[in-house]
Amino acid sequence: MSLHLLKLGLKGTDDEPRFFPQPGELKSHYDVVIIGGGGHGLACAYYLARDHGIRNVAVLEQGYLGGGNTGRNTTIVRSNYLTPEGVRFYDASLRLFQDLSEDLDINLFYSTRGHYTLAHSDDAMRTMRWRAEVNRHQGVESHVVDRDYVTQAIPGLDPDCGGSQPVMGALYHAPGAVARHDAVAWGYGRAAAARGVELHQKTRVTGIQQSGGRVRGVTTDRGTIECDSVISMVAGSTPIITDMVGLPTPIEIFPLQACVTEPVKPFLNTIVVSGSLHLYLSQSSRGELVMGAAVDPFVLHSTRSTFGFVEGLADNIVDLMPFTSRLRVVRQWAGMSDLTPDFAPIMGTTPLSGFYLDAGWGTWGFKATPISGKTMAETVATGRNHELIEPFRYSRFRDFELVGEKGAASVGH
């Protein structure tokens, strides 16, 4: 039992500090306004204050902290990407994650589980080898393992997958982890607030002022603010914000759904992903099986659920792990993912001076939370894109210099 719990138990909880201070009125001027109080926005605020001494910062959130995709994802952290730039970026994120519980003094339940991406075809095996080779070249632990290895490592898995699409092998990524998603946002929010950052929930940005080619301020449903820099970190709402400043982007919004079962005792210690079966799953520390699939097949700005999603997911998971058939789905939900044509984010400076973009996260936003916050903070502090995010710069579409992450999806099909 930890000392802190002992203290709480003996002295009671009355003196426990607030995570987030009571919100006050908006000030008339901030150095930096961050739109979006999810993991990215709060992390960025924290690193702005901690690393760059920029504390006159407001985080504006239209709902509640971490209520968007931060609180809706399936909490997987990994760095087994296909491109060197992707691997570098996510590996830096994963390393920050590993220290984060201690940094922020909050138990994020960061749990290194090992991550299997199953391959059900020659094509998929090829892509796994490609990823493994690139990962290892970057010093990231990934290996192609064969069918027998997978069967041993994941108890209860039917390698024949019910008779079609048999498992041929997998990409095993030892550092793959899960973390408590909400706590990441709360930890960053608390740490940012402790350094003077203001967190304003239920505050919706309705416009962005610009003149002379640079940002001047934002209007909100609670009044107008002057500021020098605006960072849009709003995932599924990105096109609404970029439209305010007339910035064209390739981002389109597709719902991404997930569901959980009732809790049961631990039976799955690893994270299992199958691109061919469109599913990924892990067991939470509460015992729930957390499951997700591919994004919905058409553009929609909504978090409605569909029954077809759970049907398809169940169909595949029952093939892959027949014994889960008795588990009961208790809840399903959805988030809005902001997809780009090359499955890589859009980050950093934009043609509008003082306006910064952190968007295009698709289904990978959560695992990038720490590194996005850190690199965006430095980018805003220096006015120049951090080297890790330079490959993800806004201008790459105009320059036809797309990120090759799409290769993984394209070759894998």
């Binding site: 909880t13 519980s101 079609s164 993984a408």
Partner: protein
């Protein structure tokens, strides 16, 4: 102590004439058909049914309405079985979940004493320092968390799903629901009525169980519903959620039925809500409605002596009902005045039952059962009596609407200060509430409300748009307490029984800044347990509202997401359905000992090795093609026919090369790119006539190419027809130096070079069969592709095999074809290309005809020409070199400079060859490629131009002069 009453109840569900036996924790018990697990155990005097999630406190029956999630059981075949609603079966061997060493002696029950060390969110505040110890704590926490255990031997019971169609779906078979179906059916509509209970009647069956008039009405309703031809009844059936456009999946005992309706009446009733006081979780403390269900459905007396906590008229009616059945009512604590002057209340007073005004329960005594209660004034002051002995506490202090479906359909709730309950405030015109969840409480109100609901619904279904929130028949008295919460210095007053959350936990969470309802939920986990907040959300909102000093509506509500009740993955999965496409020659391949591989939805022949070593068999197949004759089934190719005046225009705009100038009777290689210039597909385009083309596409991309052509035809306003003949037609490719000689003997058309040049296309006959011959070969030999209707492919195959037997014809599979095409340097789209590869990367600039003013992808390719950063190059290795694998990396100066896309040992060249996509500078320098293979070893490959084999392409002409004009390379 609960027990089964001797006298049957008039509407009970059990069949007392029959008995069944079951075991619980190794002890044998008897029950009757119709009993649930919980009712059967209670009938046997067992009231300790489970242990709680966190503190392992003793728990029992609360609702008997599918949210008693602390009474979960497991058998060898299933886990997390809800005892309150699951029928007990003969021979069942039941065990509790989440208890070690039996329920009574659960080894984790000590955790209750350590509750003070586990305040809300404690796990966020501990165990992370030092980091090295977290895995140990995590393992411990994970082992403690979770409920039942899964058995890895379980297999899936997949049952087909079914479909239902109706005009109106009515959810809930209580008085309002049954009134609604009858009203709708009377209007001539087809109606489905779904109810989660095995017997219709809803609250009429238990809440009104003591009322003779109500029983009579129930009988009448059941009769009318049963007799009506337009009403379909689904019992034991849970409507899982409302999905877009009236799509309502229903979990029935026989699997899932997906119902599509035009309108929905949500008459799902109310969920009774617990009151919050110390030890409100003891076995023996239950909701009044739970006690009524036990009594009227299962003939079970919930206790012998009860104290009732009352805040609504229902409490007094229930007290009389139970009293008449034999329960001694020790007194009624009135924590909300509504109903305290009702006829039932007066009757109880007359019968000597004490009514204690402004009193609530301070604490329940007893550990595994109830031994008494302490009372306290609702103002915190003293109460008329201090302590009362009893073995049951019945709570009737408020309700929450089961409005989940309404919410999912876009409806909203607001808190009604008169009713002291949330009620629907808005809803879509075709998804309407009725009955108690709409605030209609008396039977008259419920009947009127249901009829009015159906009238409004049918008007909306007819297109009338007079929508307004309908609340004509709402009751005018309170049906709950505004604050059914009693503080206690020692806590253990639970708001959420699933998650073991006490009053102080929620207040503490709010104090720490989690002070809006969503953050409160996420931090405390209130409402996130298996019952999904059915008995906890409303009280949690009350606690937060009071803490924040604001109203219920300002505090908000959480989202009611599907599933309404949990549903098994195997039921969601349904029947297994994996369509697979087989070539018309599949049987023949099987007879020839083919090994198959999955290629998308198709099965293709990998090789014909049978029991032989695959490598040797594949090499033999390659040699046969190069030296004599091979035949490969290419029926999986996409086969698309394009007719019409604008046929050439469509293809001119769709392919990167010119198609308008293709002569009739000739074919041309075709490449398709997307808008960004990335290669999507390739194939052969044959021109059969001025206005008639026939094209092939790769197996995996056929559907997409067909789809794209159809779209362009519309998009460009063309007069053209596009027909997908992939499934109708089969095809084989006859390849090798002997191909012409063998084919000549079978066809009715001359094949010599002048009559049928390379890249030509001809219509011909093989026997009776009309075939289309294309002189194309992916493998670089003299070759003919024979396309014919699937029905005649078997005959054609047999003819070819017979005619070719003297030449040593050998069928070959995809593996041999991959080697053969690699020897020719032909790319495979998707293997040698990826999501960013343009024709410039693959060394095919000749395929991009930028002189055309327009084709799909032209603007991008015009921009990209000359800017490619990577190029596909050929390489070769010494015969004794270890073989790299596809996707091994090319390394230059320690950096990644590319990857191997294809590699194979070439039987004809006697050494390995391959293709690699490498950085342009490296490609242009022509340096050897340093390839990192398995175990990190490096091999050096020399560069070799493609084609590796027969670079002049002479073999396609078998000695005849080159007609290179139409050659694509």
């Amino acid at each position: 102590m609960p027990f089964r009453c001797y006298e049957p109840r008039p509407g009970e569900w059990i069949d007392r004439s029959r008995k069944l036996r079951f075991q619980f924790e190794g002890h044998s018990y008897t029950a009757h058909p119709g009993d649930t697990i919980s009712s059967a155990l209670l009938a046997n005097g067992v009231s300790l049914l489970g242990r709680s999630f966190k503190y392992h406190r003793p728990r029992g029956v609360v609702s008997m309405a599918n949210h008693d999630v602390n009474a979960l059981f497991e058998t060898g075949d299933d886990t997390n079985i809800r005892g309150d609603i699951t029928p007990v079966q003969d021979g069942m061997e039941l065990h509790p979940v989440n208890a070690r060493g039996g329920l009574r002696k659960d080894r984790d029950r000590y955790l209750d004493w350590f509750g003070r060390f586990m305040p809300v969110g404690f796990y966020y505040k501990a165990f992370h320092r030092p980091r090295s110890l977290f895995p140990f704590f995590e393992r411990m926490i994970r082992e403690r968390a979770g409920l039942g255990r899964v058995n890895m031997q379980w297999s899936a019971r997949r049952r087909p799903k079914r479909y239902g169609h109706c005009d109106v779906m009515v959810v809930g078979g209580g008085p309002a629901g049954m009134s609604a179906v009858l009203e709708a059916a009377a209007q001539g509509l087809e109606v489905i009525l779904a109810d989660e209970n095995p017997v219709l009647g809803g609250s009429l069956g238990y809440q009104w169980g003591g009322d003779a008039d109500a029983r009579q009405w129930l009988g009448q309703l059941l009769e009318e519903v049963d007799a009506h031809p337009r009403i379909t009844v689904m019992t034991s059936s849970v409507v899982l959620g409302y999905y877009e456009d009236h799509w309502l999946p229903v979990a029935t005992p026989d699997g899932i039925v997906k119902v599509r309706s035009r309108g929905v009446v949500v008459a799902a009733g109310l969920l009774e809500q617990p009151a919050v006081f110390r030890n409100n979780d003891r076995p023996g403390v239950m909701l009044v409605s739970g006690a009524q269900r036990l009594l009227e459905r299962f003939g079970i007396m919930p206790c012998r002596e009860a104290v009732v906590l009352a805040a609504n008229p229902e409490a007094y009616a229930a007290a009389r009902q139970l009293q008449e059945a034999g329960v001694r009512i020790r007194g009624i604590a009135i924590c909300g005045e509504s109903g305290s002057d009702s006829e039932h209340a007066r009757a109880l007073t007359r019968a000597g039952v004490p009514l204690w005004p402004a009193t609530t329960i301070h604490e329940v005594h007893g550990r595994n059962s109830v031994s008494g209660v302490s009372l306290i004034g609702t103002d915190g002051g003293s109460s008329p009596v201090d302590r009362i002995d009893c073995d049951g506490v019945l709570v009737s202090t408020g309700w929450a609407p089961a409005a989940h479906l309404l919410y999912q359909a876009g409806g909203r709730l607001r808190y009604d200060d008169t009713l002291e309950m949330q009620v629907p405030s808005e809803w879509p015109e075709t998804v309407v509430p009725a009955g108690r969840l709409n605030g209609a409480f008396t039977l008259q109100q419920q009947r009127d409300d249901a009829r009015e609901a159906v009238r409004c619904l049918t008007a909306a279904m007819e297109g009338e748009t007079g929508y307004r929130a309908r609340s004509l028949f709402r009751d005018s008295v309170a049906h709950g307490a505004a604050w059914p919460v009693s503080r206690h210095p020692r806590g253990r007053n639970f708001v959420d029984l699933d998650e073991d959350l006490q009053l102080k936990d929620l207040e503490q969470a709010a104090r720490e800044g989690f002070d809006n309802v969503e953050l409160l939920k996420r931090y405390s986990t209130v409402g996130m347990g298996p019952s999904q907040g059915k008995h906890s959300n409303v009280n949690a909102i009350r606690v937060l509202a009071r803490y924040m000093g604001q109203g219920m509506d300002a505090t908000g509500t959480t989202t009611a997401r599907p599933m309404y009740h949990p549903v098994r993955l195997e039921d969601l999965a349904g029947r297994r359905f994996r369509p697979r496409r087989l070539s018309p020659l599949h049987d023949r391949h099987q007879q020839l000992g083919a090994e198959f591989m999955e290629a998308g939805e198709w099965l293709r022949v990998a090789h014909y090795g049978g029991t032989r070593e695959p490598e040797a068999a594949i090499a033999d197949e390659v040699q046969a093609v190069r030296n004599a004759l091979g035949v490969i089934d290419v029926s999986t190719l996409g086969k698309i026919e394009v007719f019409g005046p604008d046929a050439a225009r469509l293809l001119e705009g769709s392919y990167t090369m010119r198609m308008g100038n293709l002569r009739s009777g000739m074919t041309r290689y075709g490449l398709i790119v997307d808008e960004s210039g990335v290669i999507e597909d390739d194939g052969v385009v044959a021109r059969l006539a001025e206005d008639h083309f026939y094209l092939s596409a790769t197996s995996g991309h056929a559907a997409a190419t067909y789809r794209m052509l159809r779209r362009h035809a519309l998009e460009w306003g063309l007069d053209v027809h596009v027909v997908n003949r992939t499934g109708q037609m089969g095809a084989v490719n006859l390849a090798g130096p002997e191909s012409r000689r063998v084919l000549e003997s079978l066809v009715d058309t001359p094949l010599h070079e002048e009559a049928f040049p390379n890249l030509g296309v001809r219509e011909a006959r093989i026997g009776e069969a009309r075939v289309r011959l294309l002189r194309v070969g992916f493998v670089g030999e003299l070759a003919y592709e024979i396309h014919a209707p699937a029905s005649v492919m078997g005959t054609i195959w047999d003819s070819l095999m017979a005619a070719g037997s003297e030449s040593g014809i050998r069928p070959f599979g995809v593996e041999a074809q991959r080697i053969l095409r690699l020897e020719k340097g032909h790319i495979i789209v998707g293997q040698d290309t990826d999501g960013l590869t343009t024709p410039f990367n693959t060394g095919m600039p000749w395929s991009v005809h930028l002189k055309k003013p327009f084709f799909r992808g032209r603007p991008a390719l015009a921009h990209l020409k000359g800017r490619e950063s990577q190029q596909l190059v050929g390489f070769a290795l010494p015969a004794d070199s270890p073989l790299p694998r596809e996707c091994h990396l090319v390394i230059e100066d320690g950096e990644i400079a590319g990857r191997v896309t294809s590699v194979a040992a070439s039987p004809i060249l006697g050494h390995p060859i391959g293709l690699a996509m490498v950085d342009r500078a490296l490609a242009e320098r022509g340096d050897p490629l340093q390839i990192r293979i398995d175990e990190g070893r490096m091999v050096s490959a020399w560069r070799m131009t493609t084609p590796f084999y027969d670079p002049e392409g002479r073999r396609q002409f078998a000695g005849y002069p080159d007609s290179s004009e139409e050659s694509h390379q």
